[in-house]
Symmetry: C3
């Protein structure tokens, strides 16, 4: 129940960020709607296709698809005021990230998978909508280059897993993980915490071109 | 029967446009074949994977795969004359768009899905081959930025749905939707009709970089 | 048994080349791990999703996923010495290409598919990990633009198929195809053999923009 509410908030927020990305590329309304849907529902779809978990969420509940379309069109209307709302969006996005992660993790566990696969399912649900959005907009996915985001999704999975394994009830686990991950994400934004980067450059042009051939 | 003929024309035409795209990027013959196959068969594959509709068309009928490969190689041979044929291609492509849309829509309806999912299936079948082609060629998908294309696919779905629901026979519905969508697309090309674009720009650098973080 | 060993070598080598690609784009550690996993396990995942062959390899054997993550982190550690190792990598990569191809082909045959689908499954398993890596790094996939690579995967499929059909035992077929494809790839690298390229350019700006509209 709580998760459903958070899911609805999350897909709405993600749809709106997707619509803004499309707007930055001057796409037409159809592009805006498509990018919004992919951003909001793509993460869960990738997870479900990889795990063979049919039917997909938006196939089972087409109303979520309608909601993301409406959110996209609404974003076009209120675009002028969007930049005043960006703090609200950062917060909704943080909530969505953790909510998506918990839902993805839960579905994998219900299918009988172990920790590794559940962790992948959780993180994929959380981050791959944004990755698909950036691929469609022809960017290097931002998720790989900004402050802690995917790693917080991963930490949330560990938290969720530990809580369940020490015998906490499912409701408590969900609430605790939500608060824990949400606070962690807000801390990461506030202090601009980043993962260490791996910067690799070949020393000379010759070696660069050769290694490219891999 | 009519749909099968249109399907074959459509995948051939799409394979050839895919091959030309690959040629613009100076890809080798293998790249040309792969891009051609993805353009022609990718839309249906995306639909089938998302709906869990196995086996995929080209797995069940590998002859379609062979056909697209031949079309790609044939395009390399006749590339010199291709620009004289581009009006023919625009027409074949329009036919393909509507044909793909009807087929996608029909498959979703046969699986028991409702209007929203069928509409998505139809539009996805029509446009995602071209989107995948543009992603592989590292472009922002053209479908989001040119004259009415995906929206015509959507209008065709609505037409198809309405015809069926007012009790028209399946054959008549298919023929009527084909003609209706095809004429609409030709009108859109002729007059250069476009969807309104959503252009979003942050007012200052600071806000731009922050919103990017979503 | 032999194939399992080759598979493990291959995913390790591919994970490391993926990690280096991510390093060239200055991604953070999470991005490095994700690109490594996609490069190593993406080819098999694409094949399994398209054929409806569930569960996916890394879902069934999460230890492979852990291995690729470790290989990615190890690459970050030894990045300084990587360019001295690039000949070793070219060899491991060649081994991986043929190993992946044989595995993909075998799975499709076991599912009862014919030559065309098995060939596609083999080539996809061999090359699509690298294609996904290049899409995520926002490059035009290298596989389309360098010396013989995918075509060797295809020749290996034909060799495998012929050997089986003249009545050779499965073990012998695997070993023979491995050696044959491996040697072919080394020859292609050594002599810089390339597929012919298809270079297509519209003669005038007008025609270019119109054909783009396909």
């Amino acid at each position: 129940m709580l998760l459903t509410i958070i899911y609805i908030i999350a897909i709405t927020a993600e749809a709106m960020t997707g619509a803004l990305s499309a707007g930055r590329r001057s796409m037409d309304w159809f592009g805006v709607i498509l990018i919004a849907c992919v951003t909001a529902l793509g993460g869960g779809s990738v997870r479900d296709v990889l795990l063979g978990h049919y039917p997909l969420t938006w196939v089972k509940h087409p109303e979520y698809l309608v909601l993301t379309c409406c959110a996209a069109l609404f974003t076009i209307l209120i675009a002028k005021w969007m930049r005043h709302l960006r703090n609200i969006f950062l917060i909704l996005d943080a909530l969505g990230l953790i909510g998506f992660t918990i839902i993805g993790c839960q579905i994998a566990l219900q299918m009988g998978h172990g920790f590794v696969v559940s962790a992948v399912a959780g993180v994929l649900t959380g981050v791959s909508g944004g990755i698909l959005r950036d691929i469609l907009c022809n960017d290097v996915p931002l998720v790989f280059r900004r402050e802690l985001y995917a790693s917080i999704s991963f930490v949330a999975v560990i938290c969720y897993w530990l809580c369940l394994n020490i015998g906490m009830s499912l409701e408590l686990t969900v609430i605790f993980t939500l608060i824990f991950g949400f606070v962690l994400r807000l801390i990461a934004i506030y202090f601009g915490l980043e993962m260490p980067k791996f910067i690799y450059q070949e020393d000379d042009a010759d070696s660069a071109s050769s290694t490219d051939k891999h």
